[in-house]
Symmetry: C2
Subunit: 202 residues, 2 copies
């Protein structure tokens, strides 16, 4: 059984990353990371889907056991990403998706250098702008702030491994591109340092 890959997927507002990730997870070969938090669930949030809601004591225990990749504190609440679950999923041959922003992605690259970093983008900046305005739910200044943020996020693009464009109505194509990337990466020489010895021994 070949080990799965840990995918870090980032994408600006309007990139559709949660929809693409859901499509990947629906296929069964991918599982999405669910973070731990000590804060209380908000209306509509589901335990185990949006977050794993835990007590302070449980969080401490997870941290001490090494069950988290990293943890941080925000507004007095703890948040942590699930290393133990990631390792279980990867060992089973399935892939693990972490949907995180560029700063989190840079951090994961340090903590877990085998992580594969994918940037999901709308087809273009003007298309992204159209999508954000099309939502009709956000005030103009928030839309402009998100667009400005995208420019800052794109400065990190050279640290990513792959770019996938998510065109309108082609969300399945974007998911299929990610599947192709994962298939290809699993055949890469650098991810198979034992290939020569295995070949000769069999």
């Amino acid at each position: 059984m070949k080990k799965g890959l840990l995918l870090v997927v980032s994408g600006p507002a309007g990139s559709g990353k949660s929809t693409v990730d859901s499509l990947l997870c629906a296929g069964g070969d991918f599982e999405r990371s669910v973070s731990y938090t000590t804060r209380l669930p908000r209306a509509g949030e589901v335990n185990g889907r949006d977050y794993n809601f835990v007590s302070e004591a449980e969080f401490d225990k997870l941290e001490k056991e090494g069950a988290l990749f990293e943890s941080n504190c925000f507004c007095g609440y703890h948040y942590g990403s699930p290393r133990r679950r990631a390792e279980e999923v990867l060992a089973s041959g399935r892939n693990f998706i972490m949907e995180i922003d560029v700063h989190g992605a840079m951090n994961m690259k340090k903590i877990y250098p085998e992580a594969l970093l994918i940037m999901l983008l709308p087809p273009s900046y003007s298309e992204q702008e159209k999508r954000l305005r099309g939502r009709g739910t956000e005030p103009e200044e928030k839309i402009l702030a998100r667009l400005e943020q995208t420019k800052r996020e794109l400065e990190f693009l050279p640290q990513y491994d792959y770019i996938v464009y998510n065109a309108d109505g082609k969300i399945e194509a974007a998911a299929e591109e990610i599947r192709s990337i994962v298939r290809a990466e699993k055949q890469s020489v650098r991810r198979n340092p034992e290939a020569k010895d295995t070949y000769l021994a069999n």
Copy 2:
């Protein structure tokens, strides 16, 4: 139109690389490199398929025009690999396949660093041995020499980008893996240094 990729495909005797490459070329997205030579065609060889057979004067002209990646002399005849044709094919968005041995591959990596190096292998060494014996056309010492050569060739595996296994009766799967690798590579950040600027400008 996105530029095509130059694939260097190597594989030991019994890997089935010419069959896999033919399958890729049949799809139209790939074209196989045909070398130039000043030697005369042997029985059964077809001009433009096995080699481009040219005169000494034509060969000199190709070399002076920069139409060749490299050239060498063997038994008094010249051989050269087609750079100009490669560039035409890549510019059209199609991919160019060069079927060459590990030494030629190392050389291409220096001459054309964007080349993507793929090692095609039978599923295992014992399977390779079975295939070579199964041909029933070669004396035992030749089979053993080929197997020994494979061990030396595999020393170069760390310089390759991808490994593709060609299992019995699954030649289409091997070709599809190569197509996946090419699709993925075209989305890689290092092959798209202009991605950020293009995104923001559109």
